[in-house]
């Protein structure tokens, strides 16, 4: 399969800020903003007012766009250099919340930084992509065949997964595993190794299970079987399906969703916002949003294919798969295809950290695009081709 040649003819390693700004794909940014506006409208509809959600989300979005551009302008080699450090910090933060959660006996997922409530599990989604991209960037096609070199990245994936499970945050754990697996896959790991790891993982479940406290076990069990709690999660799913189904093809009209407006729909501004969207805008609105996301996925893949350095390729795929996991898990959960695991719909659901993570991810994607023609040697951080 052949992919189009880079759009520009730059071959130089070093770019000025202005050149980088020129390199940014503003068209992709346009689609990001389009989805953001979609989300703003839905949050407005959820409250029939800009308060309490739409306005704050809008402000965050504008701030997040700034972060996106800033992230894109940083030299990609900086990310390569600090990939492990970022991973290490994210890992430490995860341990901190787990310990704090232990003390509080609750599902502790964030660290209160007063200005923003930091969710280390969100940070880890990006950090893991960076760390794995760096690791695989350094492996040659021959090396990748050696099973022993996979031990480190496997630990890189499963150590945070274990910590996240203890919170317990099944949604993030699943996403970390899926994103990790996708990166292993595109890095060239053979299929049978996935099978071995999957089998080993399944075998480890009973062992890990014994390390968990009873309340942690209970929480995971409820996560896995929401029907066991019919007035809780089961009720949510039923109402969510009613909201979507009753919306029909064309929806009940903007701000006219009875399920949402009359409070039958739980968490309509966060995890279940897609149900409200589907109720008010129908299948047409839902498919439209899905298409917008798909456009972004295509951008992600195009950027990956156009990158001339392996780190960038892997980074782009990791970020794109991460975004895909958000979208797919959230929608499938709202439609009753997956258990309710608490994954927000990126750029639409109300909430600061997830939005920042996603926009940070787009920033990295953009950064890969900006530095697509930079060649980075396996050993060094510079162009040693």
């Amino acid at each position: 399969m052949r992919w189009p040649e880079p759009l520009t003819t730059f071959r130089r390693a070093e770019l000025s800020i202005a050149e980088k700004l020129h390199q940014i794909t503003w068209s992709m940014l346009f689609f990001v903003v389009l989805i953001g506006v979609f989300g703003f409208a839905m949050l407005y509809s959820a409250a029939h007012s800009v308060d309490p959600w739409a306005m704050r989300q809008g402000i965050r979005f504008v701030f997040g766009l700034g972060v996106l551009v800033a992230v894109a302008l940083v030299d990609i080699r900086v990310y390569l250099r600090y990939a492990y450090a970022i991973y290490g910090i994210a890992f430490m933060l995860l341990i901190v919340v787990d310990v704090a959660g232990e003390i509080g006996m609750g599902a502790q997922r964030w660290i209160d930084l007063k200005v923003i409530q930091l969710q280390p599990s969100e940070v880890m989604k990006i950090a893991l992509v960076l760390a794995l991209a760096r690791y695989f960037h350094r492996l040659s096609a021959d090396n990748i065949g050696n099973p022993l070199v996979l031990v480190v990245p496997i630990i890189m994936v499963f150590a945070p997964v274990g910590l996240v499970l203890m919170q317990p945050d099944l949604g993030t754990a699943v996403m970390l595993v899926l994103v990790g697996a996708a990166m292993f896959w595109v890095a060239g790991v053979r299929l049978w190794k996935f099978i071995v790891v999957t089998a080993a993982g399944l075998g480890a479940v009973p062992v890990a299970w014994n390390f968990l406290h009873d309340y942690q076990k209970n929480r995971i069990l409820t996560f896995l079987d929401p029907e066991s709690d019919p007035l809780g999660t089961g009720y949510h799913i039923t109402q969510s399906k009613i909201a979507m189904g009753s919306g029909g093809l064309s929806g009940k009209g903007f701000m006219k969703g009875s399920q949402a407006y009359l409070n039958y729909l739980p968490e309509r501004q966060t995890d279940f916002i897609f149900a409200m969207l589907s109720e008010e805008l129908g299948m047409i609105g839902g498919v439209l949003l899905l298409l917008l996301y798909t456009v972004l996925f295509v951008y992600g893949y195009a950027i990956a294919f156009n990158s001339r350095n392996h780190f960038g390729r892997l980074l782009a795929i990791g970020v794109t798969v991460n975004l895909f996991c958000y979208v797919f898990i959230n929608m499938a959960m709202v439609m009753g295809l997956l258990p309710v695991v608490g994954v927000p719909l990126p750029l639409i659901s109300y909430g600061g950290t997830a939005m920042l993570t996603v926009l940070f991810g787009f920033g990295l994607l953009m950064c890969v695009y900006v530095h697509r023609d930079l060649k980075i040697g396996q050993r060094g951080l510079g162009d040693d081709s």
Binding site: S140, V186, G188, G245, L290, H310, F328, M331, A332, L337
Partner: protein, 622 residues
């Protein structure tokens, strides 16, 4: 470099596969959307509708109860009540303090409301006070701006215009008890009341009307968001119930009976069976049930030995005593015994070695059937009963409405008892002994009857018609008999009835009759009657000898019941009456004067024939 190329190639191939996989998953999502939002959309639309639309019942206004001339006996008042909705109030404590300036609210009331507010969801209205006066209503309305979350709601409350005067006929309404609940949601409506006694209970269904409904949009916690006006179905009011009662006569009867501790009287239209008045004392105030009877009040009512809650006319069973003698006479006539047959009364009658006394020491001498009534000679009826046989007497009694419910249209009617040989065998496993017949001949022994049954018996004697008593008057208000069919004739020869009527006429109209003192002297209003005295306890031989046998010397509960049945006018009978004074003593002395007054008043008012035009014009304002 070669390695880099391989790596890049592998990457490209695998990334393309990954992307393809993602596309597949996304199309799965679209497929699911199609399934939910197109294929199953209709089902979910219904579910969504069910979610948000809730049906609320609207209480139908209860039908009024009117007397035969259209005078209102029971109607509905508006019941204004103050409600607060805690979530709209803000500071509930302070608002209650404000409210207590306009309506009486004790500290306990306020604490109870505060507690209620904590227990319920904040949007559920809580009733603060009911039955507001106009003054209270006005002062709350005026101060409405200072009373957030306070609203005035209108319900209905039953009002009985006659108070104690017809409590036993009308009965009362009250909140349905657990056992009344049939699954009809109307019954579970807060504040809804159903008939619990009297015609309120008997005709509850037609009085109740049909519920209406409104559809409201509710949110997930049940809070009403708005009403869908076009989906409102107005309730159908209950039908008005017109009674055969003449409330003027009813008031007279009830007040006349009040001279005794415990008494009852029934006035019937002897041709149609209309109950014109039914008195029972002591009575109770039905309005205490509509506002909710307290435990204390309930205990007082139920533990009172005079049984104010009991309708003694239909629920009291008494030995009919001598008022039963007409049945014996008619049974004898049917058997072919000559009314002119004379029986010598020596004051005592013997069957085997049992002696039966006549009430008159020394006896009445030779009496025929007419005078046996007049003097109420016991020996004549001992003998006649023996000649006739218990089964014939029982048959005759049953055809006059004794021994079975009359079918009067209020709940709680007792059936009385008319014994015969079959009954004796079935109940006691013994044959009827001839020695038991003489007691039956004077209405004692096993025999019991309700005053209603005795009034029906008197009506049937008077008119020769199979009169069935009823409270509901069919046809239009104020309409004359045309609307209410006269009862069909009894299968009793008129000449037999004439014998008994003549005997009864002599009781009140001939010097020496047992109720001569109670006669009606007014021309054309004379009545025919029969007195009765029912023993409550057996007077022992030792008491006979020691002389303690006068009723006045006994404790009240052990004194005889006084009975009196009559009809009038003699010449063309129209009204029948039964009076029973519990533990009153002799029928003629105690019940007679009451019967005289009631029968005279009845004929003066003449409700069966009254020209109703003017009365209606005056009373039909409500």
């Amino acid at each position: 470099m070669n390695q880099e190329k391989t790596r890049s190639l592998i990457f490209t191939r695998r990334a393309a596969l990954l992307g393809g996989g993602q596309l597949l998953l996304l199309s799965a999502l679209v497929g699911r959307m199609y399934q939910l939002q197109v294929v199953e959309a209709d089902r979910y639309k219904v579910l969504s509708e069910d979610n948000q639309i809730s049906v609320r019942l609207l209480e139908p206004p209860r039908g009024r109860i009117l007397d035969r001339f259209g005078i209102s006996l029971a109607e509905n008042d508006h019941n204004y009540r103050v409600e607060v909705i805690p979530e709209k109030v803000g500071d509930l404590k302070q608002v209650l303090a404000q409210l207590s300036r306009f309506i009486p609210l004790t500290d306990e009331d306020r604490d109870a409301i505060m507690l209620d507010a904590k227990k319920r969801r904040a949007f559920v209205p809580i009733s603060v006070s009911e039955n507001l006066s106009w003054h209270q209503l006005a002062s709350i309305e005026v101060n409405a701006p200072d009373l957030p979350g306070v609203s005035i709601e209108v319900g209905q409350r039953r009002r009985y215009t006659q108070g104690r005067n017809c409590s036993h006929i009308i009965g009362y309404v009250a909140v349905p008890s657990e056992s009344d609940l049939t699954g009809d949601p109307l019954l579970e409506l807060p504040g809804f009341r159903i008939g619990k006694a009297g015609v309120e209970k008997q005709y509850d269904e037609s009085l109740r009307g049909k519920q209406g409904s409104k559809r409201v949009e509710v949110d997930a916690v049940g809070r009403v968001v708005r009403e869908l006006e076009d989906k409102r179905i107005a309730p159908t009011a209950g039908q008005d119930l017109v009674l055969s009662i003449d409330i003027g006569l009813q008031q007279f009867v009830q007040q006349r009976l009040a001279s005794e501790l415990s008494a009852t009287a029934v006035v019937l239209d002897a041709l149609t069976g209309d109950v014109l008045a039914l008195g029972s004392t002591p009575a109770y105030d039905p309005s205490m049930f509509t506002r909710g009877v307290t435990v204390r009040e309930w205990q007082d009512l139920t533990s009172d030995p005079l049984r104010p809650l009991a309708n003694k006319a239909t629920g009291g069973e008494y030995a009919p005593g001598s008022t039963f003698k007409m049945m014996v006479a008619l049974a004898a006539l049917k058997k072919g015994i000559d009314p002119n047959r004379h029986v010598v009364c020596p004051g005592i009658y013997t069957v085997g070695n049992t002696k039966f006394h006549c009430w008159k020491k020394g006896g009445h001498g030779s009496v025929d059937m007419y005078n046996a009534h007049k003097y109420s000679c016991d020996v004549f009826f001992y003998d006649t009963a023996m000649q006739t046989g218990i089964d014939n007497i029982a048959d005759m009694a049953r055809s006059f409405g004794l021994g079975a419910p009359t079918g009067i249209d209020i709940p709680g009617e007792r059936r009385g008892l008319i014994p015969d040989s079959n009954w004796k065998q079935a109940t006691y496993g013994e044959p009827w002994y001839p020695g038991e017949t003489p007691s039956a001949g004077i209405g004692q022994g096993f025999i019991t009857a309700t005053p209603m049954q005795l009034a029906v018996m008197a009506a049937r004697i008077a008119s020769g018609r199979a009169v069935v008593p009823h409270f509901r008057r069919s046809g239009v208000i104020g309409g004359d008999e045309a609307a209410t069919a006269e009862a069909p004739a009894l299968d009793i020869p008129e000449r037999h009835l004439e014998v008994v009527r003549e005997g009864m006429r002599r009781v009140t109209n001939d010097q020496g009759g047992t109720a001569f003192r109670a006669r009606i002297a007014e021309q054309g209003m004379e009545m025919a009657a029969k007195t009765g005295t029912a023993q409550v306890r057996h007077i022992s031989m030792s008491e006979h000898l020691s002389g303690v046998r006068k009723n006045q010397d006994l404790p009240w509960q052990q004194r005889d019941h006084a009975l009196f049945v009559c009809f009038a006018p003699v010449a063309s009978p129209r009204y029948s009456l039964c009076v029973v004074v519990e533990h009153g003593g002799g029928g003629s002395a105690v019940a007679g004067p009451i019967a005289h007054d009631i029968m005279l008043e009845t004929q003066r008012r003449n409700p069966a024939r009254a020209n109703l035009g003017q009365k209606l014009a005056m009373t039909q304002k409500s």
